[in-house]
Symmetry: D5
Subunit: 147 residues, 10 copies
Amino acid sequence: MNRNDVTEMIIEAKVRKGLKWEAVAERVGQSKEWTTAACLGQMTLTEQQAATVVEIFGLPPEAARWLQVVPYKGSLPTAVPTDPLIYRFYELVSVYGTTFKELIHEEFGDGIMSAIDFRMDLQREADPKGDRVSITMSGKFLPYKTY
Amino acid sequence: MNRNDVTEMIIEAKVRKGLKWEAVAERVGQSKEWTTAACLGQMTLTEQQAATVVEIFGLPPEAARWLQVVPYKGSLPTAVPTDPLIYRFYELVSVYGTTFKELIHEEFGDGIMSAIDFRMDLQREADPKGDRVSITMSGKFLPYKTY
Amino acid sequence: MNRNDVTEMIIEAKVRKGLKWEAVAERVGQSKEWTTAACLGQMTLTEQQAATVVEIFGLPPEAARWLQVVPYKGSLPTAVPTDPLIYRFYELVSVYGTTFKELIHEEFGDGIMSAIDFRMDLQREADPKGDRVSITMSGKFLPYKTY
Amino acid sequence: MNRNDVTEMIIEAKVRKGLKWEAVAERVGQSKEWTTAACLGQMTLTEQQAATVVEIFGLPPEAARWLQVVPYKGSLPTAVPTDPLIYRFYELVSVYGTTFKELIHEEFGDGIMSAIDFRMDLQREADPKGDRVSITMSGKFLPYKTY
Amino acid sequence: MNRNDVTEMIIEAKVRKGLKWEAVAERVGQSKEWTTAACLGQMTLTEQQAATVVEIFGLPPEAARWLQVVPYKGSLPTAVPTDPLIYRFYELVSVYGTTFKELIHEEFGDGIMSAIDFRMDLQREADPKGDRVSITMSGKFLPYKTY
Amino acid sequence: MNRNDVTEMIIEAKVRKGLKWEAVAERVGQSKEWTTAACLGQMTLTEQQAATVVEIFGLPPEAARWLQVVPYKGSLPTAVPTDPLIYRFYELVSVYGTTFKELIHEEFGDGIMSAIDFRMDLQREADPKGDRVSITMSGKFLPYKTY
Amino acid sequence: MNRNDVTEMIIEAKVRKGLKWEAVAERVGQSKEWTTAACLGQMTLTEQQAATVVEIFGLPPEAARWLQVVPYKGSLPTAVPTDPLIYRFYELVSVYGTTFKELIHEEFGDGIMSAIDFRMDLQREADPKGDRVSITMSGKFLPYKTY
Amino acid sequence: MNRNDVTEMIIEAKVRKGLKWEAVAERVGQSKEWTTAACLGQMTLTEQQAATVVEIFGLPPEAARWLQVVPYKGSLPTAVPTDPLIYRFYELVSVYGTTFKELIHEEFGDGIMSAIDFRMDLQREADPKGDRVSITMSGKFLPYKTY
Amino acid sequence: MNRNDVTEMIIEAKVRKGLKWEAVAERVGQSKEWTTAACLGQMTLTEQQAATVVEIFGLPPEAARWLQVVPYKGSLPTAVPTDPLIYRFYELVSVYGTTFKELIHEEFGDGIMSAIDFRMDLQREADPKGDRVSITMSGKFLPYKTY
Amino acid sequence: MNRNDVTEMIIEAKVRKGLKWEAVAERVGQSKEWTTAACLGQMTLTEQQAATVVEIFGLPPEAARWLQVVPYKGSLPTAVPTDPLIYRFYELVSVYGTTFKELIHEEFGDGIMSAIDFRMDLQREADPKGDRVSITMSGKFLPYKTY
């Protein structure tokens, strides 16, 4: 057994049991964004979180240990994603990449938006012309320093 | 002259004149996010917007025509970006890609978040532990339909 | 079991039972284009459509659940397809890509043809010099907007 | 001078003169699809077509010869296109590639749809929910033969 | 079972039984070139050809159905082949690619040599300085047409 | 000046002067296949052949020296060619690669067909159903030896 | 003029004037590691640092502005570096990558070593068996947080 | 069984038994850096070291032999690593690659820092603003020699 | 069973039995270089050589047939090898590639050094400053000919 | 001017003046292998060697400085070389890569053959069946050490 096996067991159990990520998150006690990423093998769980996940999905006991191991991150099978939903995010990076760079540097100077000290929130935004996906990202600005 | 030449002239003039994107956007009458992307060769300007940009940056008159031509989009020189600031956004797609997919499908069903009917807002978020970059994205949900 | 397993079971059963996609589509109640894509793991089925597909191909009951899960899309093993029939479509994108771009922008302005709000119809076109494949694609035009 | 130079001169002149592909096509006496592809360096012109194109765009006389030379085809700078409009067509090949294959083989047997003995027509399709891009492709079916 | 499995069974049986492609081809009633490609998963067999192949190699009965299914073509594991014998053919395309292009266009105008309406013959050519491999390829010329 | 410059001068002069490769070959005194490859920067010319080529295309005198220098070979800008005519040859390697391998080994044992001690002839093959391109390749068989 | 031009001017002037990075760093008032990276287009200089660099290398006045612009980072022409000295560092990442991961996670838990809040020092380490290169890297540990 | 199998068994046993690399290293009698790399399949163990590792992790006896075989090195699944922790090291090579090169050549002349005659030490560096990862690398300088 | 399976069985048996390639070669009656390559799936064995190899490694009888089948050559999992020992050879091709080309052409004219009619010998070269690996390669020169 | 410019000037002058690498090497006082690599931008020259090279090729005086700068090494435009002569060396690495690894480890244990403390000699080997290229390489063995 390894962490990938645990991820696949979670996905399979979720489909079999008809669970919702939002409900899983509530029981784990974290946001749905972090909880989903964690269950999909991208974050590390505490002992208690792991125990909850094992129970929710009916995983074998040793899965609890694997959920507490830091995973090898990166959730996509190809460098340029083929799935249309995920590709749109890649496209945003491609089209707006230099815009992100210009505006963050204009506001903060040289440095980056952290993808580690980071949180995000994904919501439905009602709109008469068709509802919208609204995503708010917040990452700490980390300045390059001279030395 | 082509659109790339115009983009390079804009970047060069911006450095030479010490302009700010926020000020450019104000004169163009659009958000700083859209305006920056447009000046960097990713969006199409109206005749009036183009005239304003030509004036701001002191571009040659024929540049106005090129700014109204739909550009070949994609602002990055490599499929996986090397610049650390831009890479962090790529990393978010890599780490959270399947999470975006799961949560949007859970909320909306099969479909995508549009990267075309899309807007975004980038702000400084004051924080005693270090200020943060806050980005709000809003894209129309487009459902796959059967036929 | 995952969605790929279900796709492989469908392909295997189709060969074993000598089924036709057109007949499958008729029973599913959708076009042959959508139905084939759905059975090949690219579209999401409703509960009733899934039940029909399970019955047609004699799949195990849990396959019905997987057919209702949004799949990770992208049906090809390599970025540039090796199969000659599929490569010809890639070649059309390569040769006519900039033509599509010029003509759609000339008619509609900046924006794209949606690959989501999309339908297509593939027919035999009788021709004395050799029958032809006729494909009609229809995708909603989605304009880029300023903000 | 080479064919790429001629293509760039055509693009530059088209922007400078504010020409439309449809009008160019009418004077060349071919469809707008073929004419655009030809002007963008993907097709070969006859002596008379070349003379017309040289006149329309005000090209230097030697450009006429280059327009009659068979070009090295392929209009895109990367194997996976970055421009969102063109990418959607690549996505259609990725998502529907195996569907094209299954349905053409079901109707015609083993073989391909020719991308050479091929024509296409791109039209606006009025729709109250938003106009659509309609593309009709017609390619001769070419069967694999035993020998 | 899928077509790849059948191909592997054929290769394994051929080694085990010490068969020759030429003898297989004779019984199938086609050339050794077509027959080998077909057995290696690149061509589609008729019911009778499939039955013969099943018998020759002692395949399980269901293999007969798979041999009649149009395969996903492309026989090589990498875009640039590593095997020295196959690489030499890739090298010929690399070194002589533009020569093929120039000479076919000089003789026939714009178009291609079909790789579908195609046949080939491979023979030993006796030579006192060392025997040679002689390959004759014949593909229909397909002209690009205006429309 | 380097060999690539000479190749471009040759291509430009050929278009400007309306020359045919067959006529060039006759004056050079070699086959049209070898001569074309040589003029396109893939083969090395003797002093006399170089002088003839310089005269035919009206090249500057120093070009004669470059034509006698062994070129860095490989005539294509991408590993998988985008031009449809050249791609068909790549496709033949992809589809028939393992067939070439099997049949050459069956006839000759382990070894390769030389791409160096190689000659080829390209001819029009009249055919009532549409003329064909006929290519005959002859390469010395080179056996692997034990040591 | 752009930042790449400035980098090339610096490299050229350094060779022409026979300068040492250590001496440049002393005048800039930062470490030789940061100063070299900054001069090679990877870091952003203050107005005063830029003025010093312009003076040291005899750059044109407008270069001072470019040195204060945040550069598009990434100093290597290929994803896997070809230069042997630089490749050895890539090899260390390849061979020790999972070791870095295991040991940092064992000591700190899930998170990363910052490449932004980072400093480094490179020294000669005298050794009778042959002097050694000694590099000390120090990067802030950034923990992943739940949210 | 092969070396990869042994590596996976070690990783699995480490998780199952809750072992620490530091403790493993102590029993093996080498640094934690070398020991971890060795257990992850990048270094070769002596008979005694292998026996110790087999005992610590409870491996099958034949694993001892495999641990003494020189492994095929390279611990990452992609040329550009997707894991954020490991990517930061790749980023350091990308951003500082030319700086490493300049400074080592300035100090030592032409040559490289050995990645073979190499050792490294990874420590926690306490810091009130947040603890840091401190890595000291030491590699023998190997000069290029003329001959 | 296929040739790869046989290669893996050989590698596994070699480790299990503690055999040396030199001893294997002696019994096979060929050089250690050729014999090792053959056992690693890169060369074709005669019936007698195969029988010897089957006996030495205790392989199942059918392995003998596979050892006599011409293998699909290429022993490395990636185009640029990650293993440091093998990478150094790739680096030699990268650094000295154009030097090989210049010197062989200077001595022999246009052509190549055969990698087929090739032999090589690898020896320890005693040296007080540290023993050296000495490799002697000998490949027939094959001239390009005009035709 | 940069090192690449100097390399191109050397190549151009060599063709123009009809020089031989062997003669250049004699005047430089090093082997023809090292001298050629140095002139092609892969090695660093001393002041005196640089002066000799400047004189031989009639380079501008500032070229002497560039020849003494350590170059960014790697002489090939693609990761897999397209030139047939150079490709054969790549093929040797591909086919014999694991053999090199096995035999060097068998003789020396874990470590590499240095590509830095390396020399090589290329000679014509007379042979009645066709002369051969003989290359002798000698690289110091560098052992991995525990720490």
